[in-house]
Symmetry: C2
Subunit: 424 residues, 2 copies
């Protein structure tokens, strides 16, 4: 189970005819009505791209109102695949709002109680008529359990080859009262994946079309949930990169029902740390599912950098390594052409002293204190590491305190085939 694993949620999927393939393309995730408002939070993070889809514009408006306390926590998320409703101007915003209003009237909440999300081709008018026609059936089929979750996960896929979902559960005792906290999620993402999700509180930090919708029965208010969600995204979705082209539609939305009961989870407590940790671990699982299913990917690699002047310096270097087509092709060819890895890190705009730099591939040091370890190239462990499903790369760039890691995937001929013929 996924989004209906936590108490207080239902989900459904339907075929509205947006995708030319005739596959499912409309998904609804809804929180049950009637729960205590103080424990039912909602958090959202979106792409940092300057060009954003209409649903992102609407979502940011909802978020601002929720955090300002002028809007009750939204009840539902309506997601369509096959059309991103992006680069569609004011009409796109009006279209997204029309779909939300129609959904809200079926659920019995205000029109602002539904958050929209869209993925698919850019720059095409949203087929509002098809969506609104499919909504009554979608709402009527809302349910709990494996089948509902599977229908929801399938309806948000685009070039994904597999549906993506995850869940987490833990028990805790707070104020003498024991409770079980459940978290569930569905996600999509395969191409246009390089999330740099912005923050509601700070300038953009780290963007793709990746979408993730998370539910939890934890009792937590929106402000605390927003903070926990941003921490979780920084440690998960922001660390994967398929093709270095942040999307205009990247979205993570978390809804909390509060149905687990007990004292609300607030920032600064052990309960908050436990919840944020569980959320981050589950999001990392989803992020890994996304990179493994990267368009055309056959294998993945993890670059871990330490010894940098700051975590941000290490992050910038990791971002160059995972996005280099030359590194990605070397991984594809099982070629220990490590000079590409070191020089990619060198392109981050962050200086480092190569005489302090070392690189290890699968435990085999190939570059030590700025000079090649020539005998490494014939080490059989190197060949084994380069052939693995996940190639581990560890780069030390000095003696500083900064460290980061990111996951990338190889670049195959199949990526070109998929993306040279996406709209035609």
């Amino acid at each position: 189970m996924a989004v209906t694993f936590p108490l207080g949620f239902t989900a459904s999927g339907a075929t509205a005819g947006i995708k030319p393939s005739g596959k499912p393309d409309l998904c609804l995730i809804a929180r049950d009505g009637g729960t205590d408002g103080g424990a039912t939070g909602c958090a959202m993070v979106f792409t940092a791209n300057a060009v954003t889809g209409a649903p992102v514009i609407v979502g940011k408006k909802r978020r601002a109102a929720v955090l300002a306390g002028t809007l009750a926590t939204p009840r539902a998320v309506l997601i369509n695949a096959g059309n991103s409703n992006a680069a569609t101007g004011q009409q796109g915003v009006a279209d997204a709002e029309a779909c939300c209003a129609a959904t809200a009237s079926l659920l019995g909440c205000g029109p602002d109680g539904v958050v929209p999300s869209s993925t698919g081709v850019i720059g095409r008018p949203l087929p509002v008529g098809k969506i609104i026609a499919a909504l009554p059936g979608l709402a009527a089929s809302l349910g709990r359990g494996e089948a509902a979750d599977a229908a929801a996960a399938a309806a948000i896929m685009t070039t994904d080859t597999v549906p993506k979902s995850a869940r987490a559960e833990y028990r805790e005792t707070v104020g003498g009262v024991s409770r079980t906290i459940r978290i569930g999620a569905i996600a999509k993402g395969s191409g246009m994946i390089a999330p740099r999700l912005e923050s509601a509180f700070a300038p953009p930090a780290a963007s793709a079309t990746m979408l993730a919708f998370v539910t939890t029965d934890a009792p937590i208010a929106s402000m605390d949930l927003q903070r926990a969600t941003e921490t979780a995204c920084s440690g998960s979705f922001d660390r994967v990169n398929v093709d270095n082209h942040p999307s205009c539609s990247d979205t993570v939305i978390v809804l909390a029902s509060g149905a687990a009961g007990g004292t609300p989870i607030v920032h600064g407590t052990e309960a908050y740390e436990r919840f944020t940790g569980a959320l981050r671990t589950m999001c990392e699982d989803l992020a890994r599912q996304i990179i493994v299913d990267g368009e055309g990917a056959t294998r993945i690699f993890k670059i871990a950098i330490r010894g940098a002047s700051s975590d941000e310096a290490a992050r910038k270097m990791c971002a160059e390594v995972v996005s280099s087509p030359l590194v990605k092709c070397a991984i594809h060819g099982r070629d220990p052409n490590w000079g590409r890895i070191v020089t990619a890190a060198g392109n981050a705009g962050v200086w480092f002293d190569t005489s302090e730099a070392s690189l290890t591939i699968g435990g085999v040091e190939v570059y030590r204190a700025g000079v090649p370890v020539t005998e490494a190239l014939t080490d059989p462990r190197l060949k084994t590491a380069m052939a693995g499903k996940e190639v581990p790369l560890e780069l030390v760039v000095g003696r500083g305190p900064g460290a980061w890691w990111m996951l990338g995937c190889d670049l195959s001929k199949e990526y070109v085939v998929i993306n040279a013929e996406y709209t035609t």
Copy 2:
């Protein structure tokens, strides 16, 4: 003719056995001795990568000494292909200096009179013995004319499918005296191409392994030549991007013999503007040869952005468009999937108002004031433009004064084949 088109230069190429293929891999370009020092300038620009090849380290040392007036203008450039002598530590620097010293003794100049340059696989010791053994033959075959220039151009190729050269010539009258100024060049570059060449005067501005070696018989001192060269590179090599991985070895070296005679060309004069313009135009020709021969490239595209807040903002947006694998695959597939172009520009970290944004492909407006021009997709001119050898993309992002352009190439399956099996 190319590097021996200007008066006062000889060139040669040889096979030292560095390349496993047994193709030519060693090149020498030499300025005749005995010319007036004040008119024989030398300029160099190098990669902005934090990881630089040993020849770049040596070259920067020569440049600093030349600009400080403590070193006479270098007499020659020794270039090898097949091994970049990068990530090779202090031994690499010693190896580069040993090759320079051996060349200098053959040419009859001091060891600092030769500048080294290398391209090829990273992280392998330079085969100094092979190079030094080949030097007497290389020096003995120095000559002028088509055959010498062709031998030089062939010896610096790596994955290039064609040798690259250019020349320019103009007449001018300065101080009542007429003269002919000639400029010639050879270049290489096909992969690891995204030049951001640093400046001797300012922080890094814009970098690949692209190498270009330029000769001119203009009388111009090093400081003025350095300034002219940086202006020319910013308008040429820095505007092409094959795979967004700036190399550790990018190098442009310009040698002036002064053999055209007359008053030296100095900054702030019409003669300087004329010379810089001719140099830039010739470098743009070479840059275009490089992008057309980009690894696996079948077609190129030009993104021109205007209406940005500054030229630098427009440059950043252009850089995102030419480096997006999704844009490159769309160009390969002749697919007018213009949403990828607009969203790539949106990833530059530069905000713009999409309601002011418009995109034209081959004269057909596909996106106007933030909304799709749906009828454009069936315009036959759009199909023709997408099928051209050079696809013209024009993006307006507002009403600001900033503008820039860059050239990119498509991403084909062949790129993956070339780069998945480069060292193995």
